[in-house]
């Protein structure tokens, strides 16, 4: 019996490894400790020329809302824009944008080219707000609930599937539909 013990252990180990491998879990994905915490206070100058500054109060007032970090130099953001444009048509949610470490003229040109899904957008030139929210790169989106708390953090471009499977259910759960 003990002769087969090492073999059985090995088989168990192989099963564990294969299981983790097939689970499709991304080992580099990080969960955000910001979830459940209130959106930090901020005030960003408007990306639109002569527009109102984007503040935490604007975002919370529009909640449930998505706060999307993007940059004109970011290719996945370009891919994400049509998804955000479709999402912006949904009356239940407001979409806000933050141009991260970007030149304002370049960010404006980017939005002109792809279409502007944002109810309001601000400029985070120094990346200060991004650091406050624990942003790891662009694109990255935060869903803010009506109580001003972070409900969800999505690193990387949102897809239509993410919207249908994650974003919309979260909005419905948290009393979307103003």
């Amino acid at each position: 019996m003990t002769r087969f013990l090492p073999l059985a252990l090995l088989a168990c180990l192989v099963l564990v490894f294969v299981g983790v491998l097939l689970s499709g879990r991304d080992p580099h994905a990080l969960t955000s400790p910001m979830i459940g915490k209130p959106l930090p206070a901020f005030e960003l100058s408007s990306l639109a020329e002569g527009g109102l500054p984007l503040t935490d109060k604007t975002v919370t007032a529009g909640a449930p809302a998505i706060l999307n970090f993007f940059a004109s130099w970011c290719l996945p953001c370009r891919v994400e824009q049509p998804v955000l444009l479709r999402l912006a048509e949904d009356r239940r949610i407001a979409v806000f944008g933050v141009a991260w470490k970007d030149d304002p003229a370049a960010a404006r040109a980017f939005l002109k080219e792809t279409g502007d899904p944002f109810t309001g957008s601000g400029l985070d030139r120094s990346g200060g707000l991004a650091l406050d929210l624990g942003v790891t790169g662009v694109p990255e989106s935060f869903i803010i609930g009506r109580d001003g708390r972070v409900l969800y953090r999505h690193a990387g471009p949102l897809t239509d599937r993410d919207v249908a499977e994650i974003v919309l259910p979260l909005i419905e759960e948290n009393g979307g539909g103003r």
Partner: protein, 132 residues
Amino acid sequence: MRILIALLALFFLFQAEALALSPDEVMADPGQEARARAITRNLRCVVCQGESIDDSQAGLARDMRHFVRAEIAAGKGDDEIIEGLRTRYGDFVLMRPRLGFNTLLLWAGPFLVLVSGFLVARRVFARGKGEG
């Protein structure tokens, strides 16, 4: 040949000195700068994941270095600064994981393996002696 080796040695010597830190980031006060370096060496770059923010050239790592130095300049303590980043980025941002309930296996694991290896080895050797 000797010159070539000398040149290579020189190359590697200076390569080791190549820093991600650009000169304009360095703090004027050497004591504060030393503190900043010690802190940033123990914070992980969340983009590159294998490097500390002191080593990384990533834009986000540079922002985090700026943040650490700004906090030092503002008179914050080392632990306070590290805790500030940990609440935003999670435990992962620490290069050296904390000893906690969820990291117990991580810290104790190597010792458990060592002890069990020792026990197995002792049994195997004891058996060998008995047969011989």
